[in-house]
C-alpha cells in the first residue's frame, strides 16, 4: 500500500434516499463535522463530501504502525464519527449502506467521483463544484493540509481532463432534464402547464433552465422571498412567498422541490386540500432535495398526485448511461493513467525519506571526520582551504550517492520498490520512514517541492485554473 487513503460513505448505489437524507449536511454543519474528524487521533487529514446522491468521508490515517493497521483504525474512527453524526446507536446499523475503499482503490474512487463517473447522471457538472466546495471547507478548517489535499487536487485535474478529452459531459441529462422528460410523459405537452419551483437554489435554477422554454409559466416559491424574486427575474417567472404555497400548488401542474429544509415542506394534508381545490387535476412532484421536501406518502395515498424523488429517476438515468458507454471507457482510461501517475508520486514518498536520510548520514559522517581532522592535524589550514574541503565533501557525497539515489528513485515507481528501500535502510542503518507519519524528521525528509503544492490554495473557481503542478 502506498498512501493508505480511506474512503467511507454511501451513495445512490448503496443506500436509498431515506437513508442518505439522514447523513446529508448543509454547509453550516460542515465545520463541526470536520472538527470531529480531525479531533480523532487516528486521522491525519480528512474531507467530508455531502451531495444529493452521496455522503462520504475521505481520510488519511495517522501512520503509527503498518499502513493496513493505520487504515483499519482510521476506518473505525470515520464510522464512529458518521454514527455520531446521524445519532445512530451502533456502527453496525450503518454496515449495510456504507462502502469502504482503501489505498489505490480509494484514490481511484476520489478521481471517479470528481470526474462524474460515479454520479447518478454520468458526466453531470455539479459534482465537481460540490467536491471543490468540500475541499475548500476542509482546507479552511485545517482538515486538509498535505498529501490528502494533493490527492483531491489531482482529482480536479482528472475531472478537467475527462471534461475536455471526452464527450462524457456533452448533452448530459441532468436530474432536472430527466424530471422534465417524466413530466412530459405525464402531461404530454408542457406548453399549457405551470411549473412551480419550491426553493431557489442551484437545483431550482437548473430546473428553471430545463423548463424555461417548455412550460407555459414558471413560479418560484421560497422561504426567502428575495431569493425567489432574484431567480424569477432571471427566468421571466413569478415569485411568491412560502406563505402562499397552498395557493401556488392549486394553480401549478409540475412542482420541483429543492429546498434545504430538514423536514417536509409539502405534507400529505396540504396536498389533500390542494387536490380538492384542483378538482382532481393531476399534480406531479419532483423532489430533488436531500433530505426530501415532499412527503412520499402522498404518492400512495392521494389520487392523481405523483411524487418522484432522485432515486426514482434512476431508470431514466440508466438509459442515459447506456448511450454513454464509449465515453465512459475513454474517461476510465484517463482515470487509470492519472492513477498511475499518482501512484508513482506516492511511491516516491516512500523513497524520499530514505534518500534524504542516506545523504544526511553520509554527509554527517564525512563532515564529522573532517571536523576532527581540522581540530588536530589540519588546524593550520586557513579559511579558504577549509571552505575548499567542505566543498570537496559536498561533491564527494553527491558523486558517491548519485547511483544509489538514481536506483532508489527508479525503484520507487515499481511495485517492488519497497524492497530496495528496506535494503538501503538495513545496510546503512537508516530509520524506517513512512510518508504519512507526523514524525517531524520524516516530514522534513520529503522534499519541499513534493508537498508545497498542496499548501494550500482554495479550490479554483473554475476548471481552467490549474492547481496541481506535475
Amino acid at each position: 500500500m502506498t498512501l493508505p487513503v480511506v474512503v467511507i460513505g454511501l451513495s445512490h448505489k448503496t443506500a436509498p434516499v431515506e437513508v442518505r437524507e439522514r447523513f446529508a449536511s448543509g454547509s453550516d454543519l460542515l465545520p463541526g463535522i470536520l472538527a470531529r474528524l480531525t479531533a480523532r487521533a487516528e486521522l491525519e487529514e480528512a474531507m467530508f463530501l455531502s451531495t444529493c446522491n452521496r455522503v462520504e468521508v475521505i481520510g488519511l490515517p495517522y501512520l503509527s504502525g503498518t499502513s493496513e493497521e493505520a487504515a483499519r483504525l482510521a476506518s473505525h474512527a470515520i464510522r464512529e464519527t458518521l454514527r455520531d453524526h446521524i445519532g445512530a446507536s451502533h456502527v453496525e446499523e450503518l454496515r449495510h449502506y456504507l462502502y469502504e475503499r482503501t489505498g489505490e482503490d480509494a484514490v481511484r474512487h476520489v478521481f471517479r467521483v470528481a470526474a462524474s463517473l460515479d454520479s447518478m447522471v454520468l458526466g453531470e457538472p455539479q459534482i465537481l463544484g460540490q467536491v471543490k466546495d468540500a475541499y475548500d471547507a476542509a482546507v479552511a478548517t485545517g482538515a486538509l493540509r498535505s498529501h490528502l489535499s494533493r490527492c483531491v487536487s489531482r482529482a480536479f485535474s482528472v475531472a478537467k481532463r475527462v471534461r475536455t478529452e471526452t464527450q462524457l459531459g456533452a448533452g448530459t441529462v441532468s436530474i432536472s432534464s430527466v424530471a422534465v422528460d417524466l413530466a412530459k410523459r405525464i402531461f404530454g405537452d408542457l406548453s399549457d402547464r405551470t411549473v412551480l419551483l419550491v426553493g431557489a437554489g442551484e437545483m431550482a435554477e437548473a430546473a428553471a433552465k430545463s423548463l424555461g422554454q417548455q412550460a407555459k409559466a414558471i413560479r418560484v416559491c421560497n422561504r426567502s422571498f428575495e431569493r425567489a424574486a432574484n431567480l424569477a427575474a432571471h427566468f421571466n417567472a413569478t415569485a411568491a412567498p412560502i406563505e402562499q404555497l397552498e395557493a401556488e400548488l392549486v394553480m401549478s401542474d409540475v412542482v420541483v422541490a429543492s429546498t434545504s429544509s430538514k423536514s417536509f415542506v409539502i405534507t400529505r394534508d396540504l396536498v389533500k386540500r390542494v387536490m380538492k381545490q384542483r378538482k382532481g387535476r393531476t399534480l406531479f412532484f419532483v423532489d430533488i432535495a436531500v433530505p426530501r421536501n415532499v412527503d412520499p406518502s402522498i404518492h400512495t395515498h392521494v389520487d392523481n398526485a405523483y411524487v418522484y424523488d432522485v432515486d426514482d429517476l434512476q431508470s431514466e438515468v440508466a438509459e442515459n448511461m447506456k448511450s454513454r458507454q464509449a465515453e465512459v471507457v475513454a474517461a476510465e482510461k484517463i482515470v487509470d493513467a492519472e492513477l498511475r501517475e499518482w501512484l508513482r508520486w506516492a511511491r516516491a514518498l516512500n523513497v524520499n525519506p530514505t534518500i534524504v536520510a542516506l545523504r544526511a548520514k553520509t554527509k554527517g559522517v564525512l563532515v564529522a571526520e573532517l571536523e576532527r581532522s581540522l581540530g588536530t592535524r589540519l588546524k593550520h589550514l586557513g579559511e579558504a582551504d577549509r571552505a575548499a574541503l567542505t566543498q570537496m565533501i559536498e561533491s564527494a557525497t553527491n558523486k558517491l550517492l548519485h547511483a544509489p539515489t538514481t536506483r532508489l528513485k527508479q525503484a520507487a515507481g515499481a511495485s517492488d520498490g519497497n524492497d530496495l528501500v528496506r535494503a538501503a535502510q538495513h545496510l546503512f542503518d537508516l530509520p524506517a520512514a513512512t510518508p504519512g507519519s507526523s514524525d517531524p524528521t520524516l516530514r522534513a525528509a520529503v522534499p519541499a517541492a513534493e508537498t508545497s503544492s498542496a499548501k494550500l490554495a482554495p479550490a479554483p473557481a473554475d476548471e481552467s485554473e490549474e492547481r496541481v503542478p506535475h
Binding site: I186, F187, K279, G280, R281, T282, Y306, D312, S315
Partner: protein
C-alpha cells in the same frame, strides 16, 4: 360475382385488422416497430376495406346496414376504426390502436360467425328504428374508444404509481393525454347514446315487453346511460378524474357490451352472413334499450 367481391373484401379487412393488431401488440410487448405511422395507416386501410365490404355486402344481400344484429355490429366496428383514425392525431392516442385493431377484428368476425337469428318477438317495424340503431352504433363506437383510452390510462397510472417508468410506460401515451381523450370520446358518444335511449324508449312504448331478455336489455341500456352520465357529471362537479373516471368509463362500456351480448346470444347461431341477414328484414334490430 358480387358475392365473391364481398367475401374477398371481408377477408382482406380481417387480414389488415389482424396485421395491425400484431403490429401494435409487438410494439407494446417489445417496443419494436413504428406504430406511430404504420399502425394507424393499417387501421385506416382496414376501415376503408370494411366500409367497401359493408356497401357491397348490403347491395348483394339487399339489406339496410343498420338492420339485423350482424351488419350493425360490423358497422359499429367500422365506425370505431374511422373515429380512431380521425381522432388519434388530434388526441395523440396512436397506441389506442392496440385495442381498436383487435376489437374491430373481433367485431368483424363476430358479425359473421356469432349471434342469433330472428328475434321471436320482433313485431313492429318503424322509421325510428334505423335512426335509433345508427345513433347507438356510433355511440358504442365512441365508447369503445373511450374505454380503450381508459384502459391505457389505468395501465399508465399503475406503472406510474409503482414507479416503473421504463418499458411499457414509455410506449404508451402520456397520462393526461389519455384522460383527456377518454373524456372527449365520452362527451362525443353521450349525446348519441342519449338519442338512442330516447328513440328506443319511444319505440318501446309501441311494443309489449315481456320476455326476460327484453327486460334485461332495457335495464342494462338505461344503466349504461346512467353510468356514463354519472361519470361526466362527477368529473365536472366533483373532480372525478383519472382513475375513478377511467373505472366509470370502463363500467359504462361494460354495460353496453352486456346489451350487445344479450342480442348476440339470444338465439341459435347461424353459420353464414347470408343466413343471418336473411332474418334481418323480418324486423330484427340492434337497439340498446329496446326489447
Amino acid at each position: 360475382m358480387n358475392d365473391t367481391v364481398a367475401e374477398l373484401l371481408f377477408y382482406l379487412t380481417a387480414a389488415v385488422y389482424a396485421a395491425a393488431s400484431l403490429l401494435f401488440l409487438r410494439f407494446l410487448a417489445r417496443g419494436k416497430g413504428d406504430v406511430g405511422v404504420l399502425g394507424p395507416r393499417l387501421i385506416g386501410v382496414g376501415a376503408a376495406l370494411h366500409a367497401m365490404h359493408i356497401v357491397v355486402a348490403s347491395l348483394v344481400l339487399r339489406v339496410c346496414p343498420v338492420e339485423g344484429i350482424h351488419f350493425p355490429m360490423s358497422v359499429a366496428a367500422m365506425a370505431m376504426s374511422v373515429a380512431y383514425v380521425l381522432a388519434r392525431k388530434r388526441l395523440k392516442v396512436d397506441v389506442a390502436g392496440a385495442f381498436i385493431a383487435p376489437l374491430a377484428l373481433t367485431s368483424l368476425l363476430a358479425s359473421r360467425f356469432v349471434g342469433g337469428g330472428a328475434e321471436p318477438g320482433a313485431r313492429i317495424k318503424s322509421a325510428i328504428l334505423p335512426f335509433h340503431v345508427t345513433t347507438n352504433l356510433f355511440g358504442v363506437a365512441l365508447f369503445t374508444l373511450a374505454s380503450s383510452a381508459a384502459t391505457l390510462y389505468l395501465i399508465q397510472e399503475h406503472l406510474l404509481k409503482k414507479k416503473r417508468i421504463d418499458g411499457v410506460f414509455r410506449r404508451l401515451p402520456p397520462l393526461d393525454v389519455l384522460d383527456r381523450a377518454e373524456h372527449r370520446f365520452l362527451l362525443a358518444g353521450f349525446p348519441l347514446l342519449t338519442i338512442g335511449i330516447i328513440t328506443g324508449t319511444v319505440w318501446a312504448r309501441r311494443v309489449e315487453m315481456g320476455a326476460p331478455g327484453e327486460v334485461l336489455r332495457a335495464v342494462f341500456g338505461y344503466v349504461t346511460w346512467l353510468v356514463i352520465a354519472a361519470v361526466l357529471f362527477l368529473r365536472a362537479a366533483a373532480g372525478w378524474r383519472g382513475r375513478r373516471a377511467a373505472y366509470g368509463t370502463i363500467a359504462g362500456f361494460g354495460f353496453a357490451v352486456v346489451v350487445l351480448m344479450l342480442y348476440l346470444l339470444r338465439s341459435p347461431v347461424p353459420n353464414t352472413v347470408t343466413a343471418a341477414l336473411s332474418a334481418a328484414p323480418s324486423g330484427e334490430t340492434l337497439h340498446l334499450v329496446l326489447p
